[in-house]
Symmetry: C2
């Protein structure tokens, strides 16, 4: 039996630099060390914990998480519970549905059809008018299905993504997720293009450059005997480093992709469900109509539900699709309640308002702290880029990690992203208030001051 004998260089990004390093446990308490030892033994070597000092969590409510001692952590990171942890309305909807029925999509169920109609109706253009919804349990499954459909429909296997893209953990989508690191095999016909780095490229050129990069990669795929199945992008480029603007990029890319016979897949797993504040779906900011949209994380506020919205002709000859738990009665109840709550509780307007306050605060730090090279954001989603100096714009991973871990020690949870994990990823629940924003900003400033 042969085994790969590759070694992971230190700081290797596939190994999650913003995670706990088991080789460096000396600062931990005895109970935490014991827990981690048990955990490593029974979950195995592939599991990771966040932060230099991992956090034990026992309870969640609203924007807060709590450990066993009752210490309160301000959650400015987890977008799964985007309505807040243990949201009463979602909990009640799931509980009621659990008591009534939890079964699959091969029986007729009114609520399944009604929710699918409602969901499809949130999209613009052709998708909104004629699209169909297919349900999975996870965003990985949604992207995997989108890729299966694209490859089947086009007869091609080539895929283009951004340089640090992450589209999930199944075999097929891990193979188009370069951010998993070089130990994780990628497809022979996967090609990469640089993310639209608005900090390092002139805004006016970004759209043209990305379209040209994509065209070049299509030519390379074809020269190697392949063809383009799809271009897949997160409309805010979360794992590349969060590039919210400019928004005139993806429409021109989509045109190039379609010209080559490929499909344009918008991965809305992080950018969807109102995260960007102004729009329910991130791709709408780019005025682009995707062929396929994939949905996930916040869709059920924690209940495993995800899905795909696409033009029905793409699956006309696809054959049957069945996902045992995908779109089951409870998943639908959870997802319906989340979509209703986003609208009825005015969470997008809240994201714009509170998000504006946070963005102002972060921009203030950019003025006062040399290491804060760039601040980007929309709605309640922010990227803060740490640099060694503002001329070279050289990424400062150590500084970013010090801030992420410094905030964790102040019981405020965020994380890092980008090729060097040097960009703070701040993504509070959509129910964040001005008070929460002030507490977050104060924590960041204290941490910046302490560096």
């Amino acid at each position: 039996m042969t085994q790969h004998n590759r070694t992971l260089p230190k700081g290797f990004r596939g190994d999650m630099v913003n995670g706990f390093n088991p080789q460096d446990p000396s600062h931990l308490s005895e109970p935490d060390l014991k827990h981690i030892e048990r955990r490593q033994r029974v979950l195995g070597p592939a599991y990771r914990l966040l932060y230099r000092s991992p956090v034990e969590i026992s309870r969640g409510k609203g924007v807060f998480l709590y450990d066993k001692q009752g210490n309160e952590y301000l959650d400015a990171y987890n977008n799964v519970a985007s309505l807040g942890h243990s949201h009463p309305r979602v909990v009640a909807a799931i509980h009621n549905q659990l008591e009534t029925l939890c079964t699959h999509t091969r029986y007729m169920q009114d609520q399944l059809v009604e929710f699918a109609e409602k969901l499809v109706g949130t999209f613009e253009g052709e998708l909104g008018k004629k699209g169909c919804a297919m349900f999975t349990c996870t965003g990985s499954e949604a992207n995997d299905l989108a890729l299966r459909v694209a490859r089947f429909f086009t007869g091609n296997s080539g895929v283009i993504v951004t340089a640090e893209a992450y589209h999930g953990n199944s075999g097929a989508v891990a193979a188009v997720s370069p951010s998993l690191g070089r130990n994780s095999p990628v497809d022979p016909f996967l090609r990469l293009v640089p993310a639209p780095d608005s900090y390092r490229m002139p805004a006016a050129e970004i759209g043209r450059r990305m379209a040209e990069d994509v065209a070049r990669q299509i030519a390379d795929i074809e020269r190697h005997g392949g063809g383009l199945a799809a271009f897949i992008a997160d409309p805010v480029f979360s794992s590349d480093g969060l590039y919210f603007d400019p928004v005139n990029v993806l429409a021109s890319v989509a045109a190039v992709v379609r010209q080559a016979g490929g499909l344009f897949i918008a991965d809305e797993i992080q950018s969807g469900f109102g995260r960007t504040g102004t729009h329910l779906w991130g791709h709408v900011r780019h005025k682009v109509e995707p062929d396929i949209v994939t949905l996930g994380k916040p869709m059920g506020n924690g209940y495993p539900v995800a899905g795909v919205v696409l033009r029905p002709e793409l699956v006309a000859e696809f054959g049957r699709y069945f996902n045992t738990f995908g779109g089951n009665s409870v998943a639908i109840a959870a997802a319906r309640t989340v979509l209703e709550a986003i609208c009825e509780e005015n969470l997008m307007a809240n994201a714009v308002k509170v998000g504006g306050q946070i963005l102002d605060g972060l921009r203030g730090f950019q003025k006062r702290y040399e290491c804060v090279g760039d601040v980007r954001g929309t709605g309640l989603y922010f990227g803060v880029e740490l640099v060694k100096d503002r001329c070279s714009k050289a990424p400062d991973m150590d500084c970013a990690l010090a801030i992420v871990n410094g905030l964790r020690d102040r019981r405020i949870l965020i994380s890092g992203t980008g090729s060097d994990a040097h960009i703070l990823k701040i993504r509070p629940p959509l129910v964040f208030t001005s008070e929460h924003a002030a507490r977050l900003l104060e924590g960041i400033e204290q941490t910046l001051r302490s560096l």
Copy 2:
């Protein structure tokens, strides 16, 4: 844009012969027709409904499902709700946990580690002593992860499965699921072996034959320049037609597989969690120790939770694995409660007792009805093979479909399986009582008499 112009022959098994045929809707009521039209438009062409006359379901309790009019259906098919629909203990556990915390595996959570230890402890041999558990949301994700691990660890891509295997819906596992039909592409290095058809082969030869078949396919993979990553099998061969016996088959196959450097993956998604009555895991009946075991369907009694149990050295170099919802706090609460309930409510003993009653009844039908060629079963899982005559043993799909749909009209839910969907697949919840068994048997006999 090129599009595959393949057509589906009638009765083509990839198209699910035991499903509703939209070309034949004339017998349906106006409201049902309207529902199906709406459903087809918004879920698209890839979704299927069970039965010639699809069933509308609004409520479930114990072994029963109910439509809007309150009509009661005896569920003798759905093994997801294997503790019964809306099981109070599972509903309460999920509800309590939802009110407390629902978060992911990158924080320390005692219950996650405790459940993983408990789950691993249910396995025999090396797996039970040193195994680790990794959590996904669906059985497809579990098999997909098992396959990723096997390919990464061995450095090979070849896979061997049984001729009508189904291992899930992701791109990678659909490509090793020949039962999806010839429109669904399979891997270049996928090879098939016949299922251990105990109805058509002498029991004493089956183990030797299957080991020889596997060895021949390994040689074929190697001759084509590949190598074996894994042999994957459901230990009761559910989609091939349900072959519970003999149980001296898989150990000799596993030996051949390991000799070639491959891993033996036991897909327990249908056969696990006490379904076979005598054992919690189907592979234990074969006295084989798998390298990887995959779990799914009944694991959370409907909550989307699934997973993989494996030897930790297989993932030593794998890199990181993260599944946003996989093993979240609520998934763990659901799975823990299901495992406890199976043990504490003596459901395996119940499966043996009530299963024995059903098996006796089915064997009585085999004596009295010429079309019942073979009856197979263990625990609460049964295959009943319908044949045109007992000499030729020619599969009788029409007869099987008539029984499945005849039972549906009597409000008893089962389905069909096997290459020609000519084998009744009967799989009641583990809480089935003698009275339920009697009702099921009476319904089957009435249907057989009416043919």
